[in-house]
C-alpha cells in the first residue's frame, strides 16, 4: 500500500516536471516565452473582423472572439449547442417522470414555511431583476463587447438559482417558473438558432441568388447576407440574433436543471422506487 502511494506520487511529480520543462523549452512552438507576435491566422482574423473595405471577408463585428464563435467557426458552435442539448437531455432522462405537483397541492407547503430569513428574501427581491437586466445586457451587447449568448444565459440562470436557495423550490414553481415553461423557452431558443442559420438561404431563395447555410455577410459567389447595420446601429448580421436565441436557450436549460437538482430528496426517492406515479 505504501509502495503504491509512493509510486503514484513519484509518477505525478515526474509528469509535472516533464511537462513544465517541455513547455518552458519551446513545446508551444516558441522559445523563450512569451511569443512576441500572434500567428498568421490570428492576424487575419483580427484584420477582417470589422473591416468595411474587405466586404467579402469581414464578419462586421468589433469583437474578434464573437466573430470566430458565430461566423468564422460558426459550425463548431452549432454542434457545441447540440452537445449541450444532448447532455441536458441525458440529465433530464435520469429525472423522467419526477414532478412536484402532488406536493404543491398540499396545504402544508405554502411559501412562507420555507426559505431563509426576511433580510435575505428582501435582498433577493432587489437583486433578481438586476441580475436579469445585467445578463440581458451581456447577451445583447455580445457582438460589441465581451460576452454573448452563453455568458448572458449563464448569468440569467443565477436569478432563479438565488430564488431557489432563498425562497425554496415551491415558491419558484408556484410563480409559474416550472419545468414546462423553461423547456419551451429552451426549445424556442434552439428553434431561433435553427431559423437564423437558414435566414440567408431564405433570402437567397426569395431573390434567386446563391446563398449558404450559416452565412452572415455577403461572399464572392453568394452576394446576399444579413444586414450589418439597422438604421445606423451595428448588429453584425446574424451574430445579434444568434446571441439572443442562445441566451434564451441557455437560460432555459440551466433553470430547468437547477429546478430538477433542487427537488426534495424524499419526493424523488418515492418516484424512483415506484411508489408514486403522475
Amino acid at each position: 500500500m505504501r509502495i503504491k502511494k509512493l509510486l503514484v506520487l513519484g509518477s505525478l511529480i515526474l509528469l509535472v516536471l516533464t511537462f513544465s520543462l517541455a513547455f518552458a523549452r519551446g513545446a508551444l512552438g516558441y522559445y523563450p516565452l512569451p511569443l512576441p507576435r500572434v500567428r498568421m491566422l490570428a492576424s487575419w482574423y483580427l484584420y477582417t473582423t470589422l473591416n468595411p473595405q474587405y466586404t467579402n471577408f469581414t464578419a462586421m463585428s468589433p469583437v474578434a472572439v464573437a466573430a470566430i464563435v458565430w461566423d468564422y467557426r460558426g459550425l463548431d458552435t452549432l454542434f457545441e449547442t447540440a452537445v449541450f442539448f444532448l447532455a441536458v437531455v441525458g440529465a433530464l432522462t435520469l429525472m423522467r417522470g419526477v414532478t412536484l405537483k402532488s406536493v404543491l397541492n398540499n396545504a402544508n407547503n405554502k411559501d412562507n414555511n420555507y426559505g431563509l430569513s426576511l433580510i435575505s428574501k428582501t435582498a433577493a427581491r432587489l437583486l433578481t431583476p438586476l441580475i436579469i437586466a445585467v445578463s440581458a445586457s451581456i447577451a445583447l451587447h455580445g457582438h460589441l463587447t465581451h460576452g454573448g449568448g452563453f455568458q448572458g444565459g449563464s448569468a440569467a440562470a443565477v436569478a432563479p438559482l438565488l430564488v431557489l436557495v432563498i425562497f425554496s423550490v415551491y415558491f419558484l414553481l408556484s410563480r409559474g417558473i416550472s419545468e414546462k415553461p423553461m423547456f419551451m423557452l429552451w426549445t424556442a431558443g434552439l428553434l431561433g438558432i435553427y431559423l437564423t442559420t437558414l435566414a440567408a438561404v431564405f433570402i437567397g431563395l426569395l431573390t434567386g441568388l446563391n446563398a449558404y447555410v450559416f452565412q452572415n455577410q455577403p461572399k464572392f459567389d453568394a452576394p446576399v447576407g444579413l444586414p450589418a447595420q439597422i438604421s445606423g446601429t451595428l448588429i453584425s448580421g446574424s451574430l445579434f440574433f444568434l446571441n439572443i436565441f442562445e441566451y434564451l436557450a441557455v437560460a432555459g436549460e440551466f433553470t430547468l436543471v437547477f429546478i430538477l437538482l433542487s427537488m426534495p430528496e424524499e419526493v424523488v426517492k418515492s418516484f424512483i422506487s415506484g411508489e408514486t406515479y403522475e
Binding site: 523563450p32 483580427l46 473582423t49 470589422l50 473595405q53 472572439v65 467557426r73 463548431d76 441525458g90 426517492k269
Partner: protein, 139 residues
Amino acid sequence: MVRRMNELNTFLFNILLFSLFFNVGISLYGIFARPSLIKKIIALTIFSDTANVLAIIVGYRGWPSPEQPPIPPVITSTEPTSEDLIRFINRAVDPLPQALVLTAIVIGLAVTLFLIFLTLQVYRLYGTTDVRRVARLRG
C-alpha cells in the same frame, strides 16, 4: 533594460506554466486516487479549467514595449480606419484560443451537469458515492 524585462517576463511565464502543470498533477491525483465520485468531479473541473488557461496562454503575446501592453481582441470604434486596424493587429492577443476555450467551457459545464445527475442517481440508489463500495455491490 528591455533585455532584463524580457528575461523577467520569460521567468514569470515559466513559473506560470509550472503552476499550471502542478494543478494538472493535483487534479489527476484527485481523479485517479480519490474514491468519492464528488471529489472526482471537482478534480475533473480543476483539470478542465487548467487546460483552458493553458490554451489562453498559447494565444497570449509578449508586450511590444513596457508602455504598450497587449490589448483584448476588441476594436473600440465601429468605423475603424486602416491605420486603426494595423495598430490593433500589432497589439491585440490571439482571439482563436479564446473562442475555442469558450466552446470548451460550455461543453465542460454540460458534461459536469450530466455527471452530477449521474452521481446523484448513484447516491439515491446505492446510498454511497464511494466507487469501491459501488463496485462491490451485487445486483
